[in-house]
Symmetry: D2
Subunit: 140 residues, 4 copies
């Protein structure tokens, strides 16, 4: 774990690891700096999207990418942010046993809307998927 | 359950309910006809995307929409089809306790590529999300 | 032209036909009702996207779809609405000489954001492209 | 203009500047290297998307982004490539008088499909829009 002086890492981590579905996914905050996070997720057998169990369901890559993009903005806004829309492009299959790393990066943070990108790669650094989402950045 | 004379419903159902992640999600094939399916999923507490447990993670709506759009094409192609890309638009939050229904509809089935839409609604028929995906329809 | 009692058609038409680029495109408001418009555009030779001049540039279909989806919301909001994001799926090539018709339909109109769909077809009713956009629906 | 030893620049330029619509847009190939291009376009008054003539139509940014992403792949494939789908995110308005620069970058080139990104900025380097497209990379 790196130190991230400009980000309230405890807050980001508690938002990341608190939700029930995030717990089931086993998400880990690997790094956080202003406008960028790295989130890890181990590819487990129960994540498989085909009967043969040879690849991880794309919905889980979408979830991981969405969370990474979202949390890139969370580092700047400091609260959980609703996803408005998301596009995923699948480049190569993820396999059970892969340790997935998703880098989320802010493209633009506006007052009410933010755009962020995510890149999902496996442990060998092979790009598996890219995502781009729009998030509500309005604060109460 | 309706009878669906032109669709090999047993095949579609086995592709839907076989994969480990689909089992965990608890997916049900509610209807299938050529070019269209309806898939149900109960919104469980472990699906929640916030610490307070008040809404279902958007990644699960994306997963459900992706599967519904994909299986709309599966009714026509007869094999599992890889997702190439997906766009999700979130309209309203899904709540734990909601029984989600996703209608998947083919927009165009080509020889190597297919486009399909999904509409996710709750038990009251309120639209929660729409998705549109591109799928590989090439057969071996 | 149909009568459209619930839509201020003059306003919609002036917003559609006033902008310089819309004039160059030759857009026509074929129909307007609350939450839906039909916009026509003749496919001219100068619209071609390849040197052989055999098909119309996809960017023009994106433009037409964006405008149709946007104006579906304009019928409800009554002012010009900025596009936040757009996804286009190209189904079949448009040809010079085609008269293109784009049907724009509101998916959801919210207080600050709206989602709308567009379907672009040729004069034979063949679907050429589908688009889905997010628009700012906030009013001053 | 840079020299681009590994790209057939004459071919790329002829594909870029040959089509009728590209001519009308006034596209310029500012740079080309394997997997990346920079394309310029002057924002003219006839590009405006509102009656007041204060901003450039988003459809033109989509067109420019689509072309930049497409031509990033063209540098690798060597032929014109059909767009399959495209997502645009608009960040800030483009103004008439802006000289727009779009950087297109390959995300993944596959045998039949390729993903590429585009970033559109003005002359001050301010990001105006990002796009991501899927292209057919199959060769005859």
């Amino acid at each position: 774990m790196t130190s991230n002086d400009d980000v309230n890492r405890d807050l980001v981590e508690s938002l990341l690891t608190g939700p029930a579905y995030h717990k089931w996914l086993g998400l880990e905050l690997l790094d956080a700096k202003p406008g960028q996070v790295v989130i890890g997720m181990a590819g487990r057998p129960e994540f498989c999207g085909n009967t043969d169990g040879t690849y991880i369901h794309g919905g889980l890559l979408a979830t991981l990418a969405d969370i990474a993009a979202d949390f890139a903005l969370v580092t700047q806004v400091g609260i959980g942010l609703p996803t408005i829309d998301l596009r995923m492009d699948y480049l190569r299959p993820a396999k059970p046993g892969d340790y997935l790393r998703a880098v989320g990066t802010v493209v633009r943070r506006g007052r009410t809307l933010g755009v962020a990108d995510a890149l999902v790669a496996n442990g060998d650094g092979v790009k598996l998927a890219v995502g781009r989402g729009l998030y509500s950045t309005a604060t109460p």
